[in-house]
Symmetry: C2
Subunit: 293 residues, 2 copies
């Protein structure tokens, strides 16, 4: 049996930065809250709560505190409320998400389609920066068949590039000018490409990440197109049945999946298979490269 980890798995720059900023805020004293869960990973959120960083879901309860804005960003109006209520703002919005917000804001007089999951906080925040003609469109959803003189398209940063390409091809005949802001973050694309590459060379893919994590879901979607694939949140979900005799197992992890969970999953696979191998840190897990197999 061999187990490889896909390149670019785990914490992305934006998530690493958000966790670091939250911890620094805590260490500099005062009561620290995040408005909503800092990242889409319950294990990390729990760990942060144990350290003393609480999660608040009701904006009315946030007054005169240190409030960390999570990497997904928050709606423009919510930011104003937080400021008006005397909170100190620690803005950990991912810079790539910030750029998307600024782009939406800069063309808000024009019709804008935001491609993404309407329930995702990043998308809801993006929407708040648009104007009256800003709409959300789900990946794969058919756009209205109307003519646009100028149409802008922005994507949730963690979407699949192929979904954006498909949307663009669909609206192109119905526009005179189409402005596409490619707001899919580079780390997202690299992570997706690496996971897909590994999936093509594996009997089984284990995709690790929060069940609400958009980018982890996309990884799972991509992997299951080419091989057997499961999405798990922790090593506890792994069972002998699930591994079902697979010999070439691939691991991929979302942008908010901490290293220790990846390590636990890796070790658990070997434990289930009755092989004594185990690693202490992520650096010991072999990373899949084209030439690995």
């Amino acid at each position: 049996m061999q187990v490889f980890l896909a390149e670019h798995s785990g914490f992305c720059f934006g998530v690493r930065r958000a966790v670091k900023m939250a911890m620094e805020a805590l260490n500099s004293g005062g009561e620290v809250c995040t408005y909503g869960e800092l990242i889409h990973n319950p294990q990390i959120v729990q760990k942060l709560e144990q350290e003393g960083i609480s999660v608040c879901y009701d904006i009315k309860n946030l007054k005169d505190k240190k409030v960390v804005i999570r990497s997904h960003g928050i709606a423009r109006e919510d930011l104003e409320i937080l400021k008006a209520n005397g909170n100190i703002i620690i803005d950990a919005t991912c810079p790539y998400v910030k750029r998307a917000q600024e782009l939406v804001s800069s063309v808000k007089e024009l019709p804008i389609l935001i491609m993404g999951d309407p329930d995702h906080p990043e998308v809801q925040a993006l929407l708040s920066y648009g104007g009256k003609q800003t709409r959300i469109i789900k990946p794969g959803e058919k756009p209205e068949s109307q003519m646009w003189e100028t149409l802008c398209i922005v994507s949730q940063t963690t979407q699949k590039l192929s979904n954006l390409q498909e949307l663009v091809a669909q609206v192109l005949p119905h526009t005179l000018e189409l402005r596409v802001f490619n707001t899919i973050c580079n780390a997202t694309t690299q992570r997706q490409e690496a996971a897909l590459q590994l999936a093509k060379n594996s009997d089984l893919m284990i995709v690790i990440g929060g069940k609400h994590s958009a980018n982890t879901r996309v990884l799972q979607e991509l992997c299951k197109q080419v091989t057997s694939s499961f999405h798990i949140e922790t090593a506890a979900e792994l069972t002998p049945d699930l591994l079902n005799g697979a010999q070439n197992i691939g691991l991929a992890a979302g942008a908010s999946t901490p290293e220790n969970i990846i390590v636990e999953v890796y070790n658990q696979i070997f434990r289930i298979k009755g092989e004594p191998q185990s690693v202490q840190q992520i650096e010991e897990i072999p990373v899949y490269k084209e030439e690995s197999c």
Copy 2:
């Protein structure tokens, strides 16, 4: 045997307008020339010459004349030379081509890709309205794999929409902002769709138009993807061999194909088949609609 004509066949608005403007110029007196052939149809060009509208290929010979700018438009520098040499300009540039020129001009400080045939006068003229970072890219050609902060894309008005969609999908991952000006003219799209629809329901397609006509070539390309198809310029090219027992024959014609040539081709088919049917005008040829077959 049945013979149908594809909807939207023959003279488009831009070509009709150009021929009309040239004739009006002639009728109002003075020596009238076109700089290059007015449209991509040798039979029409010959007819215009017989009427007294000569074709000039050497710009130096155009002085103090009435010069008709053809529907493809001309290079910015050439227009300046014509004006400087005391000519009266009759600008019959197709308004859709004009719009494309104005769009290229409006973003000339940015990198621009013009998708089209590098040898086509429309494309060469478009290029002259761009800046240092304006390039021509052939349909189907792979773009350079570089990163663009902002990239603009414009198309030759008679290109296939699918080629534009493919180019856009290819460059999208390499741009932060992509501005696509959909400059493919509506008549072009309609003509292509109608020809393809008819081709799908025909044993044989006869595509009629000038051998140098870009839009006729695209029609031929599309039709031969789904059925047997020939590109001819006049009825004289039709032979019994070519018809080869076809029972459902479709006709499609480019934007610069005059009605009388379509009528001649229609009649010639029946003559070859030994059937007495013949028509006097294009209105008598049955036009194919979805429900025709």
